[in-house]
Symmetry: C2
Amino acid sequence: MRDVYVVGVGMSKFGEVWRRSLRQLFVDAASTAIKDSGVDHLDSLYVGCMSSGMFVQQEHISALCADYLGMAGIPATRVESACASGGISFRQAFLEVGSGVSDIVMAAGVEKMTDVDGDGATAALAGAADQEYEVFHGATFPGLYAMMAHAHMAKYGTTSEMLAAVAVKNHHNGSMNPVAQYPFEITVEGVLNSVMVADPLHILDCSPITDGAAAVIVTSEEVGKKLGKPCIKVLGSGLATDSMALAQRADLTTIKAATIAADRAFKMAGKKLSDVQFAEVHDCFTIAELMVLESIGLYEPGKAGPAAQAGETALDGKFPINPSGGLKSKGHPVGATGVAQVVEIYKQLTGQAEGGRQIPGSPKIGMAHNMGGSGASSVVHIMEVA
Amino acid sequence: MRDVYVVGVGMSKFGEVWRRSLRQLFVDAASTAIKDSGVDHLDSLYVGCMSSGMFVQQEHISALCADYLGMAGIPATRVESACASGGISFRQAFLEVGSGVSDIVMAAGVEKMTDVDGDGATAALAGAADQEYEVFHGATFPGLYAMMAHAHMAKYGTTSEMLAAVAVKNHHNGSMNPVAQYPFEITVEGVLNSVMVADPLHILDCSPITDGAAAVIVTSEEVGKKLGKPCIKVLGSGLATDSMALAQRADLTTIKAATIAADRAFKMAGKKLSDVQFAEVHDCFTIAELMVLESIGLYEPGKAGPAAQAGETALDGKFPINPSGGLKSKGHPVGATGVAQVVEIYKQLTGQAEGGRQIPGSPKIGMAHNMGGSGASSVVHIMEVA
């Protein structure tokens, strides 16, 4: 497979974006990415989206997005793996450029989640869990992650204060991100006193429901270098799955698919975790960030919580996690999230992170980890400044 | 890109399959394909599915399908482009094997459509059209294709009898297909006297609502030859898009995306239409088959209808179309359809078509055309016996 680059990025505003529809959010992000990269056409388009069907009754959004970008005719494909849809969109663009079939591919992601009421969004999101073995019996996503959090607390002594430390860190980072849905600081006390959603997860342990889109331009090395813009190289991609239903897993305190996906990505990249300086990881709930960091081997089981409290994963810590603000503060338009992570890796590696959230010391290699459902899909990418 | 082969295929029964769920239908097809090919593992899995969300409230079916196949852990990705989802699943497997990243990839497709009532299925299928510009105003899919049929009749003198000839031919072929939903003969008079759905389309001009799954094993040349089973080579793949809403197209009597997708596939294959001996094409409605055959250049505009009446596209005609029975007789589980087309191409090219529907004269090259919505997506593959 030939080398693959990222040469430009774009995002829509994340939030409750009442005045923009799904197709408009996509165009906001896509047109920004095209302008940022300087490309004059696309060979093809991938769009990650979890559930445009249940959220806005619209399927077939690949063709719709190509059309509204003014590019009807180009090959366009939607991919879906619940909240990992965006990461998989990026992976497919990487494979297509790598195969040599295309030179310039857009990997985008979009979700319009606020056109249904609260119950409708919860019902759509439940489509990421096992309908027959979990949802039918009343499980919701906060409930599933709450069970994982309880198991983690019981086994390792993880506390609500450790979970809160993750939320506080990510809100601090997100307070410097101009597109973030909730760009403000919170406190540990604020998290602990916020409404309980599913014990032990308070509302400030949960990522929000968000409208938004993100897009990146993926090219061959030749095209990337010719454009003369800042670019990064994709070193490796790993995708893995696990049982959907929690009841069918051997251990609730680890995300096995994250472990496997990271191993595959590092193997392809010819790198190890110690070569990486920072990461965006899938913090749909605070407990998820801790479990992922332990599953990918950054911390021993049970040690990620104390590390968060000690500031090790802060922007100025020894391994910054979620400099963008993460899903928690930036927002979590599920299909867009994995692409938005790549946007942040690109900005950090090329020194373009706004608002004071640039990681000190010019990081050279970053990692994006995007997860579907309660962990049945994980997709990991390793990227290096070019 | 390196050469890519198909080495084994499988299908579930197509029809109103009340006793099998989405995941079970997938496993039926997937386990048959694995057994047929003789592979002992999969490097990755693609699943085409249009709207498991709106049909059975289940998203994230890539991981679910991998798990229920007993292969949790492997990379698995769902792709969606409405009724072209299956063809795109095959295209992604082709690209992944071609890139060199994987040697053995399953391309599958599945749809479970009969767990909702009739209105629910119509509403889900409407997700393939433009919600804001078509569906909101009352358009359904039979209505959209009826408008295209009226335009074609007005411009070229196409008649209801010509449309009926397509249905009669496809039912004749399907009567020999053991997995077909409606494996019986019909008559032109029967079509013309059947209930009118959307003038001029009678119910026997329409493909049915179907549960079903299909799967094929896609490999590198080296793996394919080592298995020692009959195999075919994928020569070219073409994908194209068009405006979603009919109102935004210059001409209602042609499927522009089919023209472009076929051109792209032939260009990659280094072949022309005259090199091909038969095709599976997307006959979601009888008018669709005629328009596609004209759009890909097999017939001049307005000539496909008379050709169908003259038997030119019959099994023993000069260019057999839909030897499987097509969507009309075999059934149309939307996400599975494009993969089921590849299954038929494989069977015909390797001389394994059952029930007396083998095309005479050992065809060497076949073509599959799969379409999304009212034509906003088309994906074409050219395959040759290896």
